[in-house]
Amino acid sequence: MADLKESPSQTAGPYVHIGCVPTFAGLEDMFDGTDLGARMITGDPEGDRITLTLKVIDGAGEPLTDAMIEIWQPGPGGGFGPTDGFSNWGRQPTAADTGNAVFETLMPGAPKGQAPHMFVWIAARGINLALMTRIYFPDQDNSADPVFTLAGDRASTLVATPVERGFTHVIHLQGEKETVFFDV
């Protein structure tokens, strides 16, 4: 066994888009003009289509407009394996004006032993190690989910809000409504 340590993290900085979502940075023609992870629904998959709109709020109450958010979620059947016409992974920048990151996706199923959820990974200027959190859904039985219950009386910060054709979810970095973040 080699005795190595994980490379220490550094912030993604304000220009993360150049490397990860280059069209958003203004490099329209890079990599054939397609940002990886931009489309989760790539065909006509079975499942309930939802629009998930995320926003990240800083300690001054302002939305982050330079962040990058990735989500990783089970498919409608609860698995993480390939599904025709669907990618379990999505990646979006938070918009420069509203701070919204919008994912067109499918309602996740329940992996074995867990409630339906999405894993959320946030990288941005000022964030030294990308933040990990989860999103759960209000109309599901989350009471037996081991991660949801770990969050205890702060678990409500993980629950998305239903809107027409989908959900919104606000992630608070600080303050009374600070979202639960995980060390996974």
Partner: protein, 240 residues
């Protein structure tokens, strides 16, 4: 209990709040992160195939350049191995990088630094690690640049890396620095990392063995992802 990916040593990484790095003040969660061992969710992650790559995706000298032209700046190879903490190569993983040009200017709507854009330099590249974990890019050495942090702050020359692993728990973004750069010791972002030993692992070394005479110098930078747990249980995709 299942635990396929070793726990992260949070004390090795920069803390959420590093006051000298001003942007962290309003963006650092104040409650401790709650720990759980990776579930099926975090032990899996997206996969990427070589077929999605274009021929020049890993060549920043040419991938934004007009035909017959090339990016301006010191020509360098940046290469190394993607391994885990157990020293195992991590093959087939997407590595993305981005950087300023040789003058220290990013091709980004929000960067207004006085140094000019290079019309032949975009500043991003990507590749997929080989069977032995190896990766290689061609680029130009980025310049240092000033940034708004309340004082006379200049970033050391650096290249940003985004790396995927076997599972999302291994996902990592970091920065590579260059051996001998005096700005490393002065930079609040670098110095947010608690130990000099950890910082040193982000400093690429001049590699004369890979340097091509009369053509291009090489820098070596190995990237380490979280290792596997010592104990492997059979029911490896059960919840917690």
């Amino acid at each position: 209990m299942t635990k396929l990916i070793a726990s992260r040593d949070l004390d090795w990484h920069p803390p959420p709040l590093a006051p000298d790095y001003r942007s962290s003040r309003l963006r650092s969660p104040q409650s401790a992160r709650l720990h759980y061992d990776p579930t099926a969710t975090e032990m899996t992650g997206p996969t990427f195939g070589h077929s999605m790559l274009g021929d020049l995706d890993g060549d920043l000298i040419l991938n934004y350049a007009q035909a017959g032209q090339a990016a301006i700046g010191p020509r360098i190879i940046v290469h190394g191995k993607l391994v885990d903490e157990d020293g195992r190569p991590v093959p087939g993983k997407l590595i993305e990088l981005w950087q300023a040009n040789a003058g220290g200017r990013y091709r980004h709507k929000k960067d207004g630094y006085a140094a000019p854009l290079d019309p032949n330099f975009g500043g991003c590249g990507r590749c997929i690690s080989g069977e032995d974990g190896s990766y290689s890019f061609r680029t130009v050495q980025p310049g240092p640049y000033p940034w708004p942090n309340g004082g006379n702050d200049w970033r050391p020359a650096h290249i940003h890396f985004s790396v995927f692993g076997d599972g999302f728990a291994q996902r990592l973004i970091t920065q590579m620095y260059f051996e001998g750069d005096p700005h490393i010791a002065l930079c609040p972002i670098v110095q947010a990392i608690p130990s000099a030993k950890a910082i040193d692992t982000l400093v690429a070394r001049l590699d004369m063995d890979t340097t091509i005479p009369m053509d291009i110098r090489a820098y070596r930078f190995d990237i380490v992802l979280r290792g596997r747990s010592q104990t492997l249980f059979e029911n490896q995709t059960e919840g917690l």
